[in-house]
Amino acid sequence: MAMTGALNGNIKKVGGVLIMYYRPILLVGIIIASSAVIQDPVQNMINVFTMQAPYVLIYTMGMTLAIVAGGLDLSQGSVAAFSTCFAAMWIIQGGSDIVTGIIICIVVGAMFGMTNGIIITKAKVPPFIATYGMDWAARGLTFIMMGGVMIYGFSDEFLSVAWGTIFGISNIFYIAIALFVILALITLKTTFGRQIYMVGSNPQAAKLSGVRNDAVITAVYTISGALAAIAGLLFVSRLDVAEAFLGRDFALNALAASLIGGSRQGGGKGGVINAIQGVLIMLFIFNLLNVWRVSVLWHPLVFGIIIVVAAVLEQTRTAYMVKRLS
């Protein structure tokens, strides 16, 4: 509020543009700052865009949808661990073919997501508790199932999913872009997509207008679980190992990226386009820290400060937009 008040006089216009488009401006600034230090900035950018961002983007989109629907999904990491380990056992020990394994993995992830959705809608448990409880339960189940071993030695066919390239760019990049386009179309162009926003911004009004809130919310968590499973599967394909510790930082990264991207905690605002901005800003900030040789111990601190700054900036931006409209 105080910052909006300061935007008066001549600087008002400049400040308005800055605050309206602060995310792209910030992103360009960070990329320039990291490019100035290293010897091969183009390769660095290609690495972040095609090798790091796709994984994070895939599960962040699930988190963003959950946030838009008024909740959040903290169980993504352990759901990814459970579903990939389950599918890996199926592939390696059960001898099933790759496609079946992949389908099993995604279905298991989706089922965990659906369970989350049912707990949240039917038992009315707050999403934070429901998904965090599920996080513990799924992680514990993964530990029990694996019994401390790792599964490795997948076939070349499976590894080629993440290692293969088309026109010199990793497959993962295309998979992430395809999922992004599908989800963008779903959220922006379909009835179901608009219902997510309705449920998120005002559940009572949505219910009175005939939206089946419970079904929409359950579907959103199902999508989030499936996306987590897909991201986990790509990690397994890339690293050639399925282990119970996979995805410990999924939920925190996804939450931070969504918030930086401008999806509002509490629902109704944001979307996959915000997710892509948030992921890029977050990854390039960490890229900057690495390039500047900042110790990894500083990362959580920077992480926290980024979230506070992003939240305050987003609030200022909303206040500015409201003021300009009125």
Binding site: L72, I119, A123, K124, V125, P126, F128, I129, A130, Y132, G133, M134, D135, W136, A137, A138, R139, G140, L141, F143, I144, L252, L255, A256, L259, R264, Q265, G266, L297, W298, H299, P300, L301, V302, F303, G304, I305, I307, V308, A311, V312, Q315
Partner: protein, 326 residues
């Protein structure tokens, strides 16, 4: 409408079902778990219980305000590090303890400022301070365990008064003070009314910003006190020791009958909730489950118990509605 549930007797009656569950669990464990029914073990359960009680008493205030403080766990780790570091520098023990508590109160101040004054979403704000507290503890400890090497600090963790652990005495005193604070002081009632409806509290002349800031400072200081006691038990500081405690604390508060709506509940129910979770944690390991099973069981039990308490709360609210309408 009569505000009956502020009386101690009524509150004990509200948690009657929980006490029955505790007694049932106790009897079950006494027969089933080898070595459970011994003073040595029960004494340990009570020590675990006291630490959970302290952190949950703080969390009760946050949830009574309708907010969650997920930074409590990393505040706990931060205070173990600060306390151990100050004592390791050769300062007296009470300076170390004060330093730890001050660190917790400082993080609580940031929380209160962001939530009460900046009006950020409570989840976003405490998620950010979780990262910040973890980051600060990693940076000042350089990612290492800090050894305090102090007999006096050790006494706090393992010493006894009248053959009962000091920690248990501290827990009981904190509980009594907290009960007195919430029920018998005007500030306690201000917390209730701010939690019930912020705008009405503001209109009745309560400075809600001040209430938020001071309340969250207490929440932080409580988490820090739990951290100080933990550092007494291990005579060291560790940047990850508190992880997961915030989730236990939230579950305890919810099980104890303080709902997320705000403006209701109190520490009496939290007492029973902490007893239940402490028994459960001990029981699972005494029954011989491996740590991986513990993850899964605690996650599932918390999900089930919280779902039940949320559903019961919904029913109670419906019944009250009916009473008002009649």
């Amino acid at each position: 409408m009569k505000i009956g549930n502020l009386k101690l007797g009524q509150q004990l009656k509200d948690s009657l079902g929980l006490y029955i569950a505790i007694i049932a669990l106790f009897i079950f464990l006494s027969f089933q778990a080898e070595g459970f029914f011994s003073w040595f073990n029960i004494h340990n359960v009570l020590r675990d219980f006291s630490i959970l009680l302290i952190i949950s008493c703080g969390m009760t205030i946050a949830i009574m305000l309708g907010k969650i403080d997920i930074s409590a766990g990393s505040v706990m780790s931060l205070s173990t590090i600060v306390t151990s570091l100050i004592i390791a520098w050769g300062m007296p023990v009470f300076v170390g303890i004060l330093g730890g508590l001050a660190a917790g109160a400082a993080v609580g101040f940031i929380n209160g400022y962001l939530i009460g004054v900046q009006k950020l979403n409570h989840f976003v704000a405490t998620f950010a301070t979780l990262s910040i507290a973890r980051g600060v503890s990693l940076v000042i400890s350089r990612g290492d365990i800090i050894h305090a090497r102090s007999r006096d600090l050790m006494w706090i963790g393992t010493g006894r008064i009248l053959n009962i652990f000091v920690i248990i005495w501290v827990g009981m005193i904190v509980f009594a003070l907290m009960y007195f604070f919430l029920r018998k002081t005007s500030f306690g009632y201000k917390i209730y009314s701010t939690g019930g409806s912020e705008s009405i509290a503001e209109l009745s002349g309560i400075k809600t910003k001040k209430v938020y800031v001071i309340s969250f400072m207490i929440v932080g200081a409580m988490a820090a006190l739990a951290g100080v006691l933990i550092s007494g038990m291990t005579n060291s500081g560790n940047a990850t020791v508190g992880d997961g405690f915030e989730f236990n604390a939230i579950a305890i508060v919810l099980i104890g009958g303080t709902p997320f709506d705000g403006g209701r509940g109190g520490v009496v129910g939290t007492f029973a909730g902490a007893l239940f979770i402490a028994l459960l944690r001990n029981g699972i390991s005494m029954l011989g489950f491996t740590p991986s099973w513990q993850f899964a069981i605690i996650g599932v039990v918390i999900l089930v118990v919280v779902s039940m308490s949320v559903l019961l709360n919904e029913r109670r609210k419906r019944e009250e509605m009916r009473r008002v309408w009649q």
